[in-house]
């Protein structure tokens, strides 16, 4: 099977305290269609930098990123966003507070579409959002609510919906449940898992939560000091226990 994404010897160097520091230090990773990869690592291991490099928010110092065999290393964030979507840890980062839920979803729906598909056309599809959001108790009947009036959990659910409303080639989840209370976090994680399976999305999820890391996903990688120190395939991950991961932290 051909990988959707291939990260080849990715290095990100920053100048810190009078010395060069490799935040990413030769990352090699192949992501295959349908993969749900869980990324674990301590603070400063390079998890978010890796996601920044994939989305184009941060350019690599050296190395290559291929998406469906096309070199996207030098493409900017806006261009890559046609194929890659991301849900941030902070619920406020993923939505536009002075726009309504519907307007946010409309904006997200235009991602990756040809320019000729104007807002008017998209607005005609608005009932579809209502069908969609009615399954989600947190956003039911709130299409015309300004996003700034939503709770953190509702905003993060909206961010997640915005990330998947146009099926992305690759979905990045950057500790997207970490800022929520345990119950909301669990609800959103269950929704995430359900949607990823139903839509057969290829995903990369960063988490600090070991039980989440064991429970979800079909692959697992552990990052330490910018390097992949553990890469488990589906079979190995299925046998994984939470205590097995402790030695890596």
């Amino acid at each position: 099977m051909k990988p959707i994404m291939e990260i080849d010897n990715a290095v990100k160097t920053i100048y810190n305290d009078n010395e060069n520091l490799n935040i990413l230090d030769g990352i090699n990773l192949k992501i295959y269609p349908g993969d749900f990869i869980v990324v674990l690592g301590t603070n400063g291991a390079g998890k978010s930098t890796l996601l920044d490099a994939i989305t184009g928010a941060n350019q690599l110092s050296s190395g290559k990123i291929l998406l469906n065999d096309e070199d996207i290393t030098n493409k900017n964030l806006a261009k890559r966003s046609q194929f890659i979507s991301r849900v941030y840890q902070d619920p406020k980062l993923g939505t536009s507070p002075r726009m309504t839920v519907a307007e946010n979803l409309l904006l997200a729906q235009r991602r990756g579409l040809p320019r000729r598909l104007r807002l008017r056309h998209l607005k005609e599809n608005l009932p579809k959002f209502e069908d969609f959001t009615s399954d989600l108790p947190t956003l039911d009947n709130r299409l015309n609510t300004f996003t700034e009036k939503l709770s953190g959990g509702q905003r993060q659910t909206l961010s997640f919906l915005m990330a998947i409303i146009q099926k992305p080639e690759l979905l990045l989840l950057d500790e997207h449940t970490a800022a929520l209370d345990p119950q909301t976090s669990q609800e959103l994680m269950d929704l995430t898992d359900k949607v990823i399976k139903e839509k057969n999305l290829t995903s990369l999820m960063v988490t600090h939560n070991l039980s989440e890391a064991v429970k979800y996903g079909n692959r697992l990688i552990v990052l330490k000091k910018g390097q992949i120190i553990l890469d488990l395939d589906t079979e190995a991950k299925a046998k994984l226990k939470e205590k097995d991961l402790l030695e890596y932290f």
Binding site: T55, S81, K92, M99, L107, L119
Partner: protein
């Protein structure tokens, strides 16, 4: 009565500038000092072209384009050269002072040609100051209509999203740099257009006439927001017009109390500071007096 009509007329015309300012300050969240240079730029351009025999409407259109160009310079420094927003605006504003002097050839110029927008289309037959009200309403209707339509297009929504959350906008494929250019250019175009309008109403252009224009525009926006909080965007634009009129009425009342007109800018600044502080004062008041009872 005449004073009151004049106040309404001033409020309506200055609200056009405030709407321009609203695009940068509120929609793009960009504190744009260019306005203080773009406003006299519009005034000097309009007066200069009318003095050279140009049709006043065409002169104002050119003033709009010149304002857009001033906005382009600020946007270029900010979005492409990564100069901090406040500094980029100040640099353009400072440069525009010389540009305005170059255009005018001196510090001020009277409009001696009889033709201007206030006496065309039979407006000169209206009672004193009613032409300003009539023209203000027409211009505001056009600008509010166009702006509301624009903000509801895909580009307009992208502009709002850019000002609201640039990280999100960029991650949705919006070219945030272009959006900053569009917003800052349109804003300064509208401000310059107002400059041209005010110059024709006053009968002269002065290179210093932009001083304090940001305070006037912001006062209109803030007063509108204080009177009508939490309203949809299209209504918010209309509240700016109401805010601008209220601001002019407050100024008129203060001057009627016998204050020196030289203190006008100081009074304007105090009014704006009070309006900005009002939400905090109100919150403090409700915290201290809950249900009319003083909380210890």
């Amino acid at each position: 009565m005449n004073l009151f009509v004049s106040t309404i007329s001033q409020g309506l015309i200055w609200s056009v500038m405030a709407i321009g300012l609203f695009i940068t300050f509120r929609i793009l969240d960009f504190p744009d000092m260019t306005v203080e240079g773009a406003f006299p730029l519009g005034a000097v351009t309009t007066v200069m072209f009318i003095q050279h025999g140009m049709n006043p409407e065409l002169a104002m259109l050119i003033a709009f384009v010149f304002g857009c160009l001033a906005g382009f310079v600020t946007a270029f420094m900010y979005a492409k050269m990564h100069i901090p927003s406040l500094l980029a605006g100040i640099l353009t504003m400072t440069g525009l002072y010389s540009v305005n002097l170059r255009i005018l050839g001196k510090a001020n110029m009277s409009l001696t040609k009889p033709d201007n927008v206030f006496n065309q289309f039979g407006l000169d037959k209206l009672p004193t100051n009613f032409n300003g009200i009539f023209l203000g309403i027409i211009l505001l209707t056009i600008i509010i209509f166009l702006l509301t339509v624009f903000l509801n297009t895909e580009k307009g929504q992208a502009l709002i999203a850019t000002g609201d959350n640039e990280t999100m906008a960029a991650s949705l494929g919006i070219n945030t740099t272009s959006m900053k250019f569009i917003g800052i250019m349109i804003s300064n175009g509208i401000v310059a257009l107002t400059g041209g309008l005010i110059a024709q109403q006053n009968g002269f252009a002065d290179v210093n006439m932009g001083i304090g224009s940001i305070v006037i525009g912001l006062s209109a926006i803030i007063i509108g927001e204080v009177i009508y909080p939490n309203v949809p965007l299209s209504i918010r634009i209309i509240t700016i017009v109401i805010g601008s009129i209220v601001y002019r009425v407050i100024l008129m009342l203060v001057l009627q109390l016998g204050f020196n007109t030289n203190d006008l800018k100081l009074i304007s600044a105090i009014i704006l500071a009070l309006c900005l502080a009002l939400p905090t004062i109100r919150a403090q008041f409700f915290k201290t007096f809950r249900n009319g009872v003083k909380v210890k």
